[in-house]
């Protein structure tokens, strides 16, 4: 099913908390926008500008480097590696890309982030032994470690209980604000919308009839 991005999305998003609301067909619509912004998918028309960099004009390797340095991902299922402890999971992006260099400064920053999110005592624990809230905090630390300009949270609180959901959102908003980043959260949870500066409802931009469908 084709997706026509909202015209408002082209407007500059800077230091904003932006919620992309997806209703029943959340995954169908949210996945393309996340993949387009991060450069995993290329648009058939138009272009994606992040910090004046045209993402779709970059080569595949450059797009990957751009993604790992400028975009922080937070997934619904946390996507932590079970064979690594929490600390190694936070540092993981630095071990899988030549664009990021793992230094003692980065390690210190990882420790500071963990402290900030309250998981400083869980860093040596295997990720599979952490609670859901701790796992998502670890995932947030991983997303924020490289000080990205954009944080893409794809149903980041979808698997959390209400208490954890609130705590995680507060932590996420706090860190985003502190890092002067833009949070783009894809969600179908209407209760969260009031926390965001801007809400884009994809329902308004999905045509009922498509030319080539």
């Amino acid at each position: 099913m084709p997706f026509y991005p909202p015209s408002t999305l082209h407007k500059q998003l800077h230091s904003l908390l932006c919620a992309c609301l997806c209703a029943s067909n959340a995954n169908k619509n949210s996945a393309p926008v996340v993949k387009l912004i991060s450069g995993i998918l290329l648009p058939q028309q138009g272009r994606i500008l992040i910090n004046n960099v045209s993402v779709n004009s970059l080569s595949d390797a450059s797009r990957r480097d751009f993604r790992i340095t400028n975009i922080g991902f937070i997934f619904q299922n946390f996507e932590l590696l079970d064979y690594l402890d929490a600390f190694d999971n936070i540092l993981h992006p630095y071990r899988i890309s030549n664009a990021l260099k793992l230094t003692s400064e980065i390690r210190n920053r990882a420790n500071a982030l963990a402290h900030e999110l309250g998981i400083q005592n869980k860093l040596k624990q295997p990720s599979s032994t952490l609670s859901q809230g701790e796992q998502q905090r670890t995932a947030i630390c991983r997303a924020l470690l490289s000080k990205p300009k954009i944080i893409l949270a794809d149903e980041a609180t979808g698997n959390l209980d209400p208490t954890n959901k609130t705590k995680i959102l507060e932590a996420l908003f706090h860190c985003t604000d502190k890092n002067n980043a833009t949070l783009i959260a894809v969600t179908h949870d209407h209760e969260l919308l009031s926390h965001f500066d801007r809400v884009i409802d994809f329902k308004d931009y999905c045509p009922t009839e498509t030319p080539n469908d």
């Binding site: 993604r67 975009i71 991902f73 064979y83 899988i96 890309s97």
Partner: protein, 393 residues
Amino acid sequence: MIDSLYLAWRYICFNRIKTITLIACISLITFLPLALKALLSASEHQLMSRAITTPLLVGAKGNALDLVMNSLYFSTETPDFINMKVVNKIINSNLAQPIPLYIRFHAKEYPIIGTTIDYFEFRKRQLASGRYFALLGECVIGADVANLLQLKKGDSLLSSPENLFDLAGTYPLKMNITGVLKKTNSADDKAIFVDLKTTWVIQGLGHGHQDIRIIKDPSAILARSKNILTASEKIKQYTEINKNNLASFHFHGDQSIYPLTAIIAEPFDAKSATLLRGRFLTEHENIQIVRPKEVIDELLGTIFKIKNFFDAIVLIVAIAMILAIFLVFSLSLRLRQKEINTIFHLGCSRGIIVQLIAAEIFIIGLFSGLLCLLALFILGHFQEQIVYKLFIS
């Protein structure tokens, strides 16, 4: 690369059982052909080196391999006996120098080699300490015997009975060690050398006992006639030969028919060798003369045929194992697809993903190689014993 190795290491540590199984499989399939090659190479070297230096071997007709293995490597399979008449025939022929061998008895699992002093010259053996045997009951021991039994010149060694249940059998003989041979990495290292007559004493063909002419106990004499005294079992038989009782040792019967297991014949030249072989082939129905090299060549031929067959089996197993390992890796990759998708989303390049998998394969390969090397090292340590157990004893 270090980061990839680190991540691969953590993954391997997390999946210990799978990794250990993989490492064991790869090590085993690498070790098997290498170990077989090493063992065969060692056996070829061990078997052939002595066979080449032994020109002709004379023994009772029968299994030539048994004769060669017993005479050259002191295997436990004793061939049929010949007698001292054959030695005299070789001497009288003026075609070769005979070195008689009587290899039948043991002392603490080590073979007792009854021979003459010529054996040491023929095999170019040298003493590490002491002197060669000169008297009845004296022995020279190989380097390994000395080392393993913690024996030295001046100590003594007791021969073992042939059969534990043979209560009426021969008495064990206490042998005095007069010398220790230098190590040669041959069968001689694990042997005890005595004079031929000493082995006949062990067998009971010769013995020493109290002088019945001067014995005071009348019950020790069963019958007394003019020239013959018949002693009872009360007469004390010596089980050790020393200066005091040496003179009492004597042999009964015709010594020319005393048993031998083989004779090493050292022909004076090639022509003498041919003549001697011809004579034995035509004149002696119950005696065979063999070239040990030919017998060992035949044995090695058989071993190598088996080796080729084994190689083929190992190859088939290896192919099956490689396919299984390939399957394990591809299944592992499928299981890790979610992880690969995540790191792809994060911005990991294809090169790094390949590097991660390569690092895992490298670590598993490295440990498999090390395990294989360790196993080969241990095999090398026991190679001599294994070859002896497999091909000689």
